[in-house]
Symmetry: C2
Subunit: 299 residues, 2 copies
């Protein structure tokens, strides 16, 4: 039985940063999320790829014990071509070829419908909503999004936010979506829409958790060498829900731990291109850095 | 006997933010720093004001038990006229009237020369260096600066950095001074110049402490209502050295506590214009928020 259902994109990413480049590397929000979750829990993935999708990438996902029965194959794989300049907080897009993603409609396989933990990774909010419609009352839903959907499908996005337990977004998106410079104000507006918790990801500055009366401030990890930040937000989310599904404890206190595990996996992810770092990451690397996160915030 | 010598500016500030404005309010780096330090220690101030300086402002400083024997009076007081837009991280200058600050030369009164803790608050780095030349071997020196000196007196600034124990600067300044986007890299370059510790202030994102082999990440405080960030960096620095001079413990562990006290006082400072909040702040307000800083960090 799978612990988590993850819906999002599986992509081929061509990425250039000041420290190198890769062509058509394995990427996509559901890929990073399920990879990161796999250190803690077993997930099933719903997405679409094309006939051009390399077999070795399928093997990589299978090796992490990710259930691929929800992965459709049709046409050509979604391809993102982008770059980062020295300010690695901001991805710039050269080209987006949606390909088979363009007409993708979620169909949740029957045996997935009873999964209790659901991660709606970054994808069209209409597909996020459709996933929830098809599921049997999951009891814990986390969603992520990106500025593209704020600009183009704000109404559906707000509808989706109303149906989830935890909303993840980055600081720029929070400010944009709620028309305020102040993150506390943005988080309070988000909480009023329905989620029990809002997590604002701030890249090198860490992450903030807002619940009704509590606030948690997770530190950023001091990385001297960042090679490629692609997928950091997705792996943060995957590790977050992965840890929660493993521990089956949805208290605010455990959310804090899950956020630090999310930060640990995301910080590793930035150290190499694409999935290169996560491919070789071990639970002992994760636990070691978790302890470092404790040490750097102790006073 | 005074615990701390503080040299910096005493100014009249005209400030506009989206939440209101003030005309010729009491301001300046040494003012905020000595006010903040006064919650923990007794300080002596070295600066210059003009004949137009309001008596009530002198009274305000005296009430905090700040020694003003090093305060020269000549000509007209330094006046800064600036504003903030919705992104309150960045002050914009309308007008800077240096007035009596223009030809100010530090003269450390004889009885101040033996003070052991020195805070070189933001002012011309040549005056920071001159202060150290006149002092009898102080054993703990903290310095702050701003982008204006990076642009205009970089050589003197670097010379000053070589002579201090702790360098404070904000993230933008750290990136600019060391020509790198990466704060870990910037901090390592700063440490190589001589200071035992570098503290990078990141406004709402908290502060980072770098020492040779250790890193500390202090949280930002989730303020929903920021009225005026003027003087936050200066009050951070003042409370930091004030706490250290009070506890006489210069371990890395105690630096961490001092940074949190600095963050506590700075976060209060942003809640009202000029010194309006600090004027009414109590030690019990400070200790209460210090506990909140612990709570938002626990995992």
């Amino acid at each position: 039985m799978n612990d988590i259902l993850i819906i999002g994109t599986v992509a081929l990413d061509s990425i250039e940063t000041p420290f190198g480049k890769v062509k058509k590397a394995l990427g996509g929000s559901a890929t990073y999320a399920s990879f990161a979750a796999s250190f803690f829990s077993k997930s099933a993935l719903i997405s679409v790829i094309g006939n051009d999708f390399p077999k070795e990438y399928i093997e990589l996902l299978k090796k992490r014990n990710i259930d691929l029965n929800g992965l459709k194959i049709t046409g050509k794989t979604f391809h993102w071509d982008g770059f980062y300049e020295y300010d690695m907080n901001e991805a710039k897009t050269r080209k987006t070829e949606l390909n088979s993603l363009e007409h993708f409609k979620v169909e949740v396989p029957e045996k997935y419908k009873k999964i209790k933990y659901v991660f709606l990774a970054n994808i069209d909010p209409e597909q996020q909503l459709e996933t929830l419609r098809q599921m049997n009352k999951p009891y814990f839903v986390v969603m992520d999004t990106m500025n593209f959907w704020i600009n183009n499908k704000k109404k559906s996005l707000i509808d989706a936010i109303k149906k989830v337990d935890v909303l993840l977004l980055n600081d720029g998106e929070a400010r944009q979506l709620f028309s305020t410079i102040n993150l506390v104000n943005a988080a309070n507006q988000a909480l009023r829409l329905g989620p029990k918790a809002v997590i604002i990801k701030k890249g090198e500055h860490g992450a903030l958790l807002f619940t009704k009366n509590k606030h948690f401030n997770a530190p950023g990890y001091p990385l001297e060498n960042i090679k490629d930040p692609t997928g950091c937000g997705d792996s943060f989310g995957g590790a977050f829900i992965g840890y929660l599904a493993k521990t089956k404890d949805l208290s605010e206190r455990n959310f804090r731990k899950a956020i630090v595990y999310g930060s640990v996996v995301a910080s590793h992810n930035a150290e190499d291109f694409g999935l290169n770092r996560l491919k070789h990451l071990t639970m002992s690397d994760i636990e070691k850095r978790y302890k470092e996160f404790q040490d750097i915030r102790e006073f």
